[in-house]
Amino acid sequence: MAPPDLDRSEPRVVLSARGLRRDFAGFVAVRNVDLDVRHGNIHALIGPNGAGKTTVFNLLTKFLAPTSGRIELLGHDITRTPPARVARMGLVRSFQISATFPHLSVLDNVRVALQRPAGLGIQFWRSLAALDRLTPRAMELLRSVGLDDAANRPAGDLSYGRKRVLEIATTLALDPKVLLLDEPMAGMGHEDVATVSAIIRSVASDRAILMVEHNLTVVADLCDWITVMQRGEVLAAGDYATVSRDERVKVAYMGTADD
């Protein structure tokens, strides 16, 4: 068990978990997970299939309640906080299955995210024109990820890769302090991977990012810190060089990977 990286005098910890555990009807999916995500860092969560990465993700974003353990976001205990509230506090996630609003336009997908912070969530008596003032910011976000040309198309018509990009743009609309990306590159072609990598890198400077990712080239290239999971537990943690030298990691995971 690798100790949590407490000794680093680096950027502050924005999201931390201690002793995280989750049982599913007798099966322990995640046990004793400690994790620290730091401001300005891109942190990867890797491990073989079934290692519990997505469960950890769901626990951190409160889509699942932990059986035991404690989660802190920006110094606040969020162990029992509902997911929508956590999102409002600045911890925003993406999903493994691309999560867009398929029948809404690309522009509206981003505007929906902007509505709540702008206080335009519950106005049932106003016309949609009230949302026009969100359009410039939404277009700016779309331009920053190269989707402005598709603003008026239904999100469902976008290619797979561009849907993921839209999802990131939508997430960024909330200006999250901590961004959790669940396999952002899954199922993408080479070009899209490069695009998304560039986007992730560019948005990481003033926030923390935790991502589950299988593509080790991407992880090596992008991530400052890596937590390796196996069978629901943390196997090792450190930067790519440290982790990739770890014997247990080699045996459990990297030894079998050709990347």
Partner: protein, 323 residues
């Protein structure tokens, strides 16, 4: 209810044409009582509003309620009681009916929104059955007899609603206001969030929306507007009976909405008009109405799942896309 949700129909072939059609429709409704029996028209209008209110929930929020008779029939009882027993003027009675329906919606919604899909439908059904038995037992509903002989009274103290034309135009205005309110809700910032919840609930949560509150809000609004329809019906027909709180009534509004096309503004109006028209026609022929509506429902589900208006939209948009 993802399998029931439709392609967004706000991608209109021509907004100007639509407004022209809406104008024509209103003109036709203004002229209609000179050609058609007003009571029949008013029944149609009440059910059209009922179906539109139901569609606010099913079509635009993705929640299938199987208990909307509670709001429709409950409001009818409240209004009938207030007008007949307390001697309230009709407009106050209607407002009370709406408020009562909203309150019932708040209670039912509070329990139902915790579950999704079929469980949501089952909870609404169970609660509406409870309300049905309450109405059977409660003294103020007069049990099997219902509240009969409700006076129509004077609207705002000046307009005698016993004159059929006065009654008709009051109902028409109230229904138009109700439908406009639904249109406004659907096409509002709030409605946008409802759609996003219908499209992808988890994503809406992850964007920080307290989805339960939004659903409850939509549920209460839908209940209040269904209540408006029920209250108007009580004034028009001058009675409130158990028929309007039965589960069959909840089923009927589902049929109307599906037949016309969920997730469209006009669909539920067309669907309600067809069903009410059919029932009126068959009522004199002796052919069992339930068999006819059952058959229509089957054909609708098998052949045109998008509903009449939904299919028309799909065809028009499809043609615009290819041509």
């Amino acid at each position: 209810m993802a399998d029931l949700s439709l392609r967004e129909t706000s991608a209109k072939p021509s907004a100007r044409l639509e407004w022209a059609l809406v104008g024509l429709g209103i003109l036709a409704l203004l002229a209609a009582p000179f050609f058609v029996y007003p009571i029949f028209l008013m029944k149609m209008l009440c059910f059209a509003l009922f179906a539109c209110a139901f569609n606010l929930l099913l079509g635009y929020t993705g929640l299938l309620s199987f208990g909307h008779a509670t709001f429709f029939g409950g409001a009818a009882y409240f209004t009938a009681h207030a007008v007949k027993v307390w001697g309230w003027p009709p407009e106050a009675g209607v407002l009370l009916g709406m408020a009562g329906a909203a309150l019932l919606g708040l209670v039912m919604g509070f329990f139902a929104i915790r579950r999704q899909g079929i469980y949501f439908a089952m909870i609404t059904l169970a609660l509406s059955q409870m309300f049905f038995f309450f109405c059977v037992q409660a003294p103020f509903t007069q049990g099997e007899d219902g509240i009969q002989g409700v006076p129509r009274g004077m609207l705002f103290g000046i307009l005698d609603l016993n004159a059929p034309m006065n009654m008709y135009y009051f109902v028409l205005v109230a229904v138009l206001v109700g439908v406009f309110a639904i249109w406004r809700i659907v096409n509002s910032p709030f409605g946008m969030i409802l759609r996003s919840i219908r499209e992808n609930e988890s994503r809406a949560i992850s964007l920080g929306y307290s989805v339960a509150s939004y659903k409850l809000g939509a549920f209460v609004m839908s209940a209040a507007l269904a209540g408006l329809a029920g209250s108007l019906k009580a004034i028009v027909f001058q009675f409130a009976t158990l028929t309007d709180v039965t589960w069959q009534m909840s089923g009927e509004v589902i049929l109307m909405t599906l037949l016309g096309g969920i997730g469209t503004m006009v669909g539920p109006i067309i669907g309600a008009s067809l069903v009410v028209g059919l029932e009126n026609t068959l009522a004199t022929s002796g052919f069992p109405v339930t068999i006819a509506t059952g058959l229509i429902f089957m054909v609708c589900v098998l052949v045109f799942r998008r509903g009449i208006v939904g299919e028309v939209y799909a065809r028009v948009i499809g043609r615009a896309g290819t041509g």
